[in-house]
Structure formats: C-alpha cells, structure tokens
Amino acid sequence: MAKFVLRRALISLLILCLAVSLLFGMIHLVPGDPASVMLGPRATPALKAELAQRMGLDQPLAVQLGRFVAGAARGDLGVDPFSGRKVSDIVLEQFPYTLVLVLAAIGGASLLGIPLGCFAAIRRGSWLDRLTAVLSVAFIAIPSFVVALYLLLWLGVKWRWFPAIGAGETGNMADQAYHLVLPAISLGLGWVGYIARLVRASMLEVLEENHIRTARAFGLPERTIIVNYALRIALLPTVTILGLGVGSMLTGALFAEIVFSRPGIGKLLYEAVLNRNYPIVMGAVLVTTGFFVLSTLASDVVNASLDPRLRTERGR
C-alpha cells in the first residue's frame, strides 16, 4: 500500500512538473517577448528592459524555470507586475471563493442525487427510475455555462429572486450564501444526474449481494436494510469518483464565476489571460493543477484502500 501511494504521488508530482514546464516553455517560445506584449506597442526599449529585468526575463530560460520551481516550492510565485503584489497572496485570496463554490455544488448535488439514485434503484423500472435516467443524461449533456446564463436571465435578472452579481458582503454569511445559490446550481445540476446514476448502479449491485439477502431473511425492516446495509456500501465508489470529477468542476466553476461576476480562481485566471499577465497565469494554473492533482491522488488512494485489486494493476 505504501508503495502504491508513493508511486501515485510520484506520478502526480511528475504531472505537475510537466504542466508547469510546458506552460513555461510555451510562454517563452511564442513570438513577442512577454515584456513587450504586456506593455503594448508604444513602450520604449528602456521601459521594456526594465520590466523584463523586474520579471527576471533577461535570464536564460533554464535559469528562469529553475527560479520559478525553487520559488514555488517555497510558496513564492513571484510578483504581479501590474499591482506589485505577491502572486501567492492574490491567488490564495481568490482560491477560497472557488473552493466554497465547488463544495456547495458537490454538497447540493449529493443531497439531491443520492436519494434520487437510491429510489431509482429500489423502484427499478418505475416512472421515477425512468425519469431520473432521462433527466440525468439531459443535465449531464447541457453545457454548464448555458445553464448558468439561463439561471441568470430568469432567476437573477427577470424575476430577481437571487442576486446576479458578486459573492456578497464579506463577513455576512447569509448574504454570501444567498449569492452562492445560482452559481452552485449551475455548477451542480449536471452532477445531480451523474451522482444519481452512479448511486443507482452501485445500489443495484449491492442489493444483489448475500448479506442483503441475509438481512432480509432476518426480517429487518426494509428501511434499515436500504440505509444501513446497502446505501453505506453503495456510496463508497461514488465518493471516490467525485474526487476524480474535480477537474471538470474547476472548468464549470470558471464559467460560473465569469457569468455571475463572482471572485474566484477561474475569474482571476481568465482576466490574467486577457491582460497577458503571465505571472498570475502561471500561479493560478499551478495552484489549480496542484489542487486537482491532490484530489485525484486522494481519491485514488481511498479507492485503492477499499479495493486491493487496484493496487496491483499496472499504471491504473
């Protein structure tokens, strides 16, 4: 088991390093050096040289990459050339907003999806089962930003049930939760169906098993059998798959943050891309990739500890 965790951790680290080096290499291979791109066409050579020096762009590529990696390992991601603030501060300031959004979406989707999937499995073939099947596929398919736009249009702007912009007043929990509703729905809607499908599939499998038959033979109430004996086991694979879904969650969060003008890492990255603010782009990509790689690693490890077969299969 320790060997497995170590191998997965090494692969995760490798992925992270590859991603950073790739991005770093590309920034410098593209025609037009970052300094002149950032300063625009009217910048004087002296100004460019000064900015290039401030950003460390006058050093050879390998030195720059080395510096960045060494800095990143110490938690130092460089300085934002526009505001002069530390990139790590800016990124860490925005990250909690995204985290809260993702957690709210996963939480809401589980609250709805788990009972739905459970009922669908118990009443297999009923209208509820068929409706769940159709709706899950439908909600998974529709792009989340379209859902976000329609929610914004009707619930935010037309009927004004929920706020359409921002994350709410800082320090005011109720206001922040109120602002969280629409973005979380747009992000979580597709997951309701997905979770329902997963829970249904694993419930059906578990309900066939011997210990459930035994529990029935002992005459335990059906509710106890379902909740205590079946659902508990059926939930495990679902939980681990949620960990693997963080990547697409981050993608969805970016759209939700932009549509609802909500602060967060996605919006930060998007704006940095538009301004060609490379240090912020690097920092934001590094932190999200790191977060993503970690959650994948965590779910891999949880999965493997539950199912020993996964530990031996090569490379997964």
């Binding site: 590309m26 379209v146 736009l149 970016l254 538009l274």
Partner: protein, 288 residues
C-alpha cells in the same frame, strides 16, 4: 481494410430506434439540426452579418423570428450560420483526434511495455489537466482563433480514443488469428492495419457520436469566453457572449443562442446512447 458495417445494420438501427422513443427523438433532432446547418445559406432569412441599427435588440417579430442582437443582426440567421462553426469544429476535431488516438492506442497496445507505460502516463496527464485551464493558457500564448480551439479539443480528446483502442488491441494481441498472421511473417504494420484496425473500429464510432456534444459544448464555451471565432462570425458561443453583454436590454440573444446548444447536446446524447445500446450492450452495464 474497409470497415463496412455488418449486413442488416440499417435495419437493426431503425428497428431499435422504433422501440426507443428517446433515441428516435435524438435522431430526429440531430437530423433536423444537421439539415438546417448545412442548408443555412438557403434557409436563413437574412444575411447573418447585415447590420440594422434602427432595429437593435428587438424581440421576435414576423421579420425576425428570434429577434435581433445589439447591432440589429437577425438572430435566426446567426444561429443557423453558427451551427456551421459547431459542425466544422466537431468534424475536424473528432476525426483528427480519433485518427491520432487510434494510431497511438494501437502502438501502446501492441508495442513494447515501456512505450505502453510512457504513453499511458502522457494520456493520463493530458486527461487529468482541467481542460479549460489548458485552453486558457494556450489561448493566452497563441491568441484566440478557431484553429486554437480545434487544436485544444484535439489534444484533449486523443486520450479518450487512445485508451479504448489500447485496451482492445491488447485483448486482440494474443488471439489465434493474429498469432497465425505473425507466424506467416506479416509485418507489425500490416497486422495492425489489416487485422487489428477493422476489429476495433466499430465501437469507436459510437464513442465519437457521444463525444460530439462535449466538443460542441467546449467550442461554444471557449467562444463564449471570447477565445474562439473572431467577430463578426457567428458561433453559438459568441452569440451567447453578445447576449450576456446586453442581458439587461433584451433576453432574446441568450434564449436564441442557448436553445440550439441545448437541442444539439441533448439530441446527440440521446442518439449516442441509443446507438451504444444497440451495438455495444457491454458498455452500458458499466456506467448506467
């Protein structure tokens, strides 16, 4: 090496679709959208780029069935022509990533073990990277264009096909007819081309049809962020972007831009699921 469908395929599909109303609905929806998109130049009531400033952000009328946008351009015409962008991107992106994925997958499945491992790690790396971050980073560097979008989609879709091809190639690799070929001295290339490929191809088309909604969604998403087609070319995503900017003035651009996206993703998904149930019931058991 031609991959012709087994005899009776068309009959089987029509018979199965008759029993599956949702799959049938998806098929009809996909057919209608494809037809409307291909015939856009003849169906569109107006030039999608024709500006009419006296008639900005109007609601549906006899003249403009879906209203007009912030420049007074006809929404229906823009939506019809926007479909061409979506169609073009999905055709190019899916066929290219499928071709590369097949090649890499067969190499991984048939080649030496170190190569297989190296390819697997690279597939996982690409697959695990949050797509949008990758896309944004690339666009930040190369600049927005439809080709960038297509490139990003190709790179991120290759592992989808390559992984399936690899697994299937590995399963075939030890089969008797492959061993016989090898005993007769056939080259690896010949074995892969004439014997492995025809055997693994059919399920890939189901995979491709299920990949269409994801690809169209991605193109629309990137265009919505202003990273795809450049204005004034209409794409469903850029229509939504325009609509978002003028949301408080008129809801119609968003409604008109979102509906075809919803229709096309639902249509392809239901049709793809029906196809999968018909041709590959094994896939079904796994995730449904």
């Amino acid at each position: 090496m031609s991959v012709s469908p087994p005899p009776g395929t068309v009959l089987r599909v029509t018979a199965a679709l008759k029993r599956d109303p949702l799959g049938m609905a998806g098929f009809v929806l996909v057919g209608l959208i494809l037809l409307a998109t291909v015939c856009a130049p003849w169906l569109a009531p107006h030039d999608p780029l024709e500006v009419d400033v006296t008639n900005r952000l109007s609601g549906p009328s006899a003249q403009h069935w879906l209203g007009t946008d912030q420049l007074g351009r006809d929404m229906l015409s823009r939506v019809l022509f926007g479909g061409q962008v979506a169609l073009k991107v999905s055709l190019i992106a899916i066929s290219t990533s499928m071709a590369i994925g097949i090649a890499l997958g067969m190499i991984a499945g048939f080649g030496p073990r170190w190569l297989d491992r190296a390819l697997l790690v690279s597939f996982d790396t690409v697959r695990s990277f949050p797509t949008i971050m990758f896309a944004l980073a690339i666009v930040a560097l190369i600049g927005p264009s439809l080709n960038t979008v297509i490139g990003v989609i190709i790179v991120t879709s290759i592992p989808v096909y390559a992984r399936v091809v690899r697994t299937q190639t590995q399963a075939l690799r030890e089969r008797d007819f492959i061993l016989a070929e090898r005993a007769m001295g056939a080259s690896t290339f010949r074995i892969l081309r004439d014997h492995v490929f025809p055997n693994i191809a059919p399920p890939l088309f189901i995979l491709a049809s299920m990949d269409v909604p994801a690809v169209i969604g991605m193109e629309a998403g990137l265009s919505f962020l202003g990273l795809g087609v450049s204005p004034p070319t209409p794409s469903w995503g850029s229509i939504l972007n325009d609509g978002y900017s003028y949301l408080r003035n008129s809801p119609w651009p968003i409604i008109a831009g979102g509906l075809p996206l919803i229709a096309v993703t639902l249509g392809f998904t239901f049709f793809g699921e029906a196809l999968r149930d018909i041709f590959d019931p094994r896939l079904r058991r796994k995730d449904a």
